[in-house]
């Protein structure tokens, strides 16, 4: 998962790539999943909400022919939040859908992740379980699809 994310970015320094990967995982967490991870987080900081959580739209773009010029395909709901922790660290989160509490918690974990003393704990206790679950889902979906792959064989016709 993290490997794929780093691939899709052309610019940005290494810490940016790591943060991008972390934020991607937080965005893909389910609401109950991240709520449970937050419940299990022991040293809860003071949190001030700077923005949101608020829901809006993004216009999704496709490409003509799949790889050509962009066109506007249609919109999706997105929720975003920005928080500041007691020690001043600021975290952002954006995710598809309208799960406000999920996005607020994702912003909190983003702020925590940016602090060197918390990063390991966030990666171990929060990001790793989300990444594992996503990978399990992906693997089983891929295997289910693979089971529907057509294996062609040739029928031999004729008398000889």
């Amino acid at each position: 998962m993290i490997k794929e994310d780093t691939q899709s970015t052309e610019t940005g320094s290494a810490p940016d790539l790591q943060r991008k990967a972390a934020m991607a995982l937080l965005a893909q967490a389910t609401a109950p999943e991240i709520a449970a991870l937050w419940a299990g987080w022991s040293d809860k900081p003071e949190i001030e909400t700077l923005r949101g959580p608020e829901t809006g739209l993004v216009m999704l773009r496709g490409r003509i022919g799949g790889g050509g010029a962009p066109f506007n395909l249609g919109e999706a709901t997105v929720t975003r939040a920005t928080v500041r922790l007691g020690n001043g660290a600021v975290g952002h989160a954006y995710a598809l859908g309208r799960h406000r509490e999920k996005v607020r918690l994702a912003a909190v974990f983003d702020a925590l992740w940016q602090q060197p003393e918390c990063r390991d704990a966030v990666e171990r206790a929060v990001l790793a379980p989300i990444a594992d679950r996503l990978e399990r889902d992906r693997t089983s979906k891929r295997a289910e699809t693979a089971a529907t792959k057509v294996d062609f064989f040739t029928m031999v016709r004729g008398d000889d």
Binding site: A27, L60, G74
Partner: protein, 368 residues
């Protein structure tokens, strides 16, 4: 003199109360839950998202429930809802080549990298009603097959290598993708705006037009180069961060239609293409869209415009089912004054007609 008439408040209030009652139906039957609609009516949800032009399965499910299963009404509700939200921005273009594939078939190549993956399809079912579904028989888990992850190239890229097929469509240098939700349409359109309109267009309308092209009205000799369904990542660039953010994944259906083209003085003969991309799992819509996209490229490709499916103004102006239903259904609203005026006019015309008839008879008698 125009006299405004008011009334009907109580009737309307009671009608809406009655609607709520009928929507709920028999209270002894459990009310349907949104997660049940999302999970078990997922293709209806996909259609509402596609034609409502808003990707949000829970909202689409709510709209379906509120509309009593009337999908065009549900699409209308979703369109109305989207106008209440601010727009945060435009995403980066979806990379369908990187799709986590759930279904992928090609009618042009049997053996292709990644293979033919049937996925959860109605194809090859016998279309016999299954009485067991009326009961709650347990459903077996799907089979799994361990396969190494392989890159599944788009079929059009395979054909593209030797110039047998035209490239993905480009817009003129410096062009920004048009957005029909921001600017009213003015004809003629570029292909980007046509694709936006087709992506949200009514499935039935586009299906009928697509069928007409197969029956000889703007025939384009189509082959399904590829259909793929699966999840793609959505990325957004935001001001507060200097890298694009992953927002999550959405499911889309993509259809690459491959069509013949005899070439021109400038271009050697090659295959041309029609493109379809639709929210959710909807290959009927994606296929119809790609056939219509190809037909609507007649002007660009120097083809004679002889059929309805090639008439951009006709197709795009009538493909939106919210617009269509709005104008067709407004006819049932009170037109009492208009109709009185028409009635008056007809009366006067009839009187005149009668006078003319009598005059004519008299003149005829006088002549005799």
């Amino acid at each position: 003199m125009y006299v405004a008439v008011k009334g009907g408040e109580a009737a309307i209030r009671n009608a809406h109360k009655l609607l709520a009652d009928r929507r709920r139906g028999d209270r002894d039957v459990a009310p349907i839950q949104l997660d049940q609609i999302v999970e078990q009516m997922s293709l209806a949800v996909d259609r509402v998202m596609a034609e409502g032009s808003l990707y949000d399965p829970e909202l689409a499910a709510l709209a379906i429930k509120q509309a009593r299963g009337d999908l065009i009404e549900a699409i209308f509700l979703v369109r109305a809802y989207r106008t209440t939200l601010p727009r945060f921005g435009y995403t980066k273009a979806l990379e369908t080549a990187q799709m986590q594939i759930e279904r992928r078939i090609s009618a042009t190549f049997k053996d292709l990298p990644g293979g033919q993956l049937l996925g959860p399809t109605f194809d090859y079912t016998h279309r016999l009603l299954d009485p067991e579904l009326a009961e709650d028989a347990p459903i077996e888990a799907p089979d799994q097959r361990e396969e190494p992850e392989v890159f599944t190239p788009r079929v059009t890229d395979i054909l593209g290598h030797d110039g047998m097929i035209e490239e993905d469509g480009e817009l003129p240098e410096g062009a920004v993708a048009g957005d029909l939700t921001r600017e009213p349409l003015t004809f003629p359109l570029e292909r980007d705006l046509r694709l936006q309109a087709l992506a949200r267009g009514d499935e039935g309308f586009l299906l009928g037009l697509a069928y007409s092209t197969q029956r000889g009205y703007a025939r384009s000799h189509p082959f399904v180069g590829e259909i793929r369904i699966g999840e793609v990542e959505v990325e957004l660039e935001v001001a507060e961060l200097d890298f694009p953010l992953t927002l999550g994944t959405i499911r889309v259906t993509e259809c690459q239609m491959v069509n013949q083209f005899k070439g021109s003085a400038k271009q050697p003969p090659q295959f041309t293409r029609g493109y379809g991309l639709v929210f959710g799992q909807s290959e009927r819509k994606a296929m119809s869209m790609s056939l219509c996209d190809r037909a609507l490229r007649a002007r660009e490709l120097g083809e004679d415009i002889t059929a309805t499916a090639q008439d951009e103004e006709f197709v795009i102006s009538h493909s939106d089912n919210v617009q269509s239903t709005g104008f067709v259904e407004h006819l049932k609203l009170p037109h009492y004054v208009d109709f009185q005026a028409e009635l008056d006019l007809i009366r006067r015309m009839r009187a005149e007609h009668e006078r003319n008839r009598l005059d004519g008879a008299e003149t005829k008698e006088a002549a005799e």
